[in-house]
Symmetry: C2
Subunit: 334 residues, 2 copies
């Protein structure tokens, strides 16, 4: 059973995915990540993932065989299924649809011990190109409204395999936090006729207090009201509403600032687990004046307690001026 | 430094509380909860908490001395400070105010080894009366807009002391998730002229598929679109917009269903950590037709990964019909 259900009060959609490999009573508190042993993402084990959707190779070797630099495969335990119709329907008060979507894994390198922070610049850039290639392909599917790309690094951040990888989920709805950002941006735009993120970037570059790093195309900042300690945003300096339409030079500069920021985080916080999420426009309005795509990185340092769950209201013990200063002063290169 | 800051895009407020006992570099991944050893919430250690705000006692003993059944004290490491003015101000684009609020701890019992699930009915009811007494008192402070009551049970749920306790935070703003529930409820009301929660209760009592327990005044359900496995809501059957105005009989029946549900959760999930949050109306509109106060209980079973953080969109591997059935069939009494 895979179903999308909507909370009738807040409009929040959830995926109910009962066949994701666990029975209710299996929910233990034991670790999920296995270290050492067999890895389905290493050379020679290509047959242990579903057949690849995309791979980048130096030598033009055969699909699903070693020699690749990067591979994209369907998730073996997908949260959503790719086949079928949405079949939107009501259930009394409630709204639901079939759990249709794409759930893919981007295996970022063949090197089991590498991470995004330690890969070569070109390899990090390749990861960005793979994100873009998959987004462009999935945008053609009329069932989807949003393509979400994220990375869970380390067990505490939700990773179940240690080999460096990202994930992509194509969704038939626009997730709630994205919708809120879009609506907030629209409200600012309708009042000011300026993009709120562009305004933020101007103010941050002016004050410098929360700037971590910058290059000709990107800036890395600690946001003014961060939910989490050391939360970091990477934003394109020029207004751009969607990730997949960036210029070639921009992907190059994004790969550089991303690597630099991850190295700084590793230095200051001793290789913490983290979550990384690309925030981009919904498929139906990719080019617009009000929304500004960006990447959010959230190191996983403190437990989120009842206060946060219950309210969407966060207590952050590290002022962003302090986290920005520490990350700014750390070396951004090996 | 304690400051409330608003995210300029989504309107989300966060508390930046830099002096909460940790320096940025102290953020380890080590456990916080100490078991055994000294407990400031036990008899004889009253001087190790700030002086009590309220206590319930059988024998009329002196304040801050043993003999109490329940104690309310200020949090020793408060997220917000009680003294001072809000001093709302702008900082360019951004909005902030001083971190003013109340942060109190409700010590639910003197028995170090008891839990809400195992306390006597009357003791659980006393906890509810203490919540109400503190809410009524804090509502008089014109600086506050919302009073949030929550409980973190177990280390993975964010508890830093194992002795059974709840927390209360009085806030000068209405937290985002509450505002969303209020706005969603208002939208339903303006369309239907009925409370959306009343509609849900009618439908759930009719279908029974997601009902866990009920008594004359309350019903416990697994919500239709739960974010988390075994998420459980307790709702008053009759429309009531705020927790603190309930009838005496209702607190009695609430204590019974609360205890029953926690016992069922302990049985089925082997004493899991959990978060419990009271959702009630903001102080400025406590009596209304559209919002329905309730309690949400979220057992902490699975890790929340990047997907959830980035989007407010949740993948739940346990259908609520299944969690409701398991909890319904478990014994609700010792």
């Amino acid at each position: 059973m895979r179903e999308l259900r909507k909370d009738p009060i807040t409009g929040r959609w959830v995926i109910i995915a009962a066949d994701r490999g666990k029975r209710p009573t299996d929910f233990g508190r034991s670790p999920v990540l296995t270290t050492g042993g067999f890895c389905p993402f290493c050379y020679g084990n290509e047959s242990h993932t579903p057949p690849e959707i995309l791979s980048y190779r130096n030598d033009g070797g055969a699909s699903n065989s070693p020699g690749w630099k990067l591979r994209v495969v369907p998730n073996k335990f997908p949260a959503l299924g790719i086949e079928g119709e949405l079949n939107r329907q009501g259930e009394g008060l409630f709204d639901k649809m079939n759990g249709i979507g794409a759930h893919e894994v981007i295996i970022e390198t063949h090197d089991h011990n590498a991470s995004l922070a330690t890969l070569e610049d070109q390899a990090v850039e390749d990861v960005l190109w793979a994100f873009r290639d998959r987004m462009l392909d999935l945008k053609k599917d009329r069932r989807f409204r949003y393509i979400l790309i994220f990375k869970n690094h380390g067990e505490a951040a939700g990773a179940s395999l240690e080999h460096s990888h990202s994930q992509l989920i194509a969704l038939p709805i626009v997730p709630k936090l994205v919708r809120e950002e879009i609506e907030g941006s629209k409200a600012h735009y309708s009042f000011k006729e300026r993009c709120v993120y562009c305004d933020i970037i101007r103010q941050e570059l002016d004050s410098k207090a929360r700037v971590i790093d910058e290059n000709p195309d990107f800036v890395a900042i600690a946001p003014y009201a961060p939910r989490f300690p050391f939360e970091t945003w990477l934003l394109p300096k020029n207004h751009d509403s969607c990730f997949e339409d960036a210029q070639k030079r921009e992907y190059q500069n994004l790969s550089r600032i991303l690597k630099s920021v991850l190295l700084r985080i590793d230095q200051v916080l001793d290789h913490p687990p983290y979550n990384l999420v690309i925030h981009t426009s919904p498929i139906t309005e990719t080019v617009n004046e009000f929304y500004h795509w960006h990447i959010e990185i959230m190191p996983k340092l403190s437990k989120v307690a009842g206060f946060e769950w219950g309210t969407g209201f966060y207590i952050n013990p590290v002022p962003p001026e302090e986290s920005a200063r520490l990350l700014r002063e750390a070396p951004g290169a090996e």
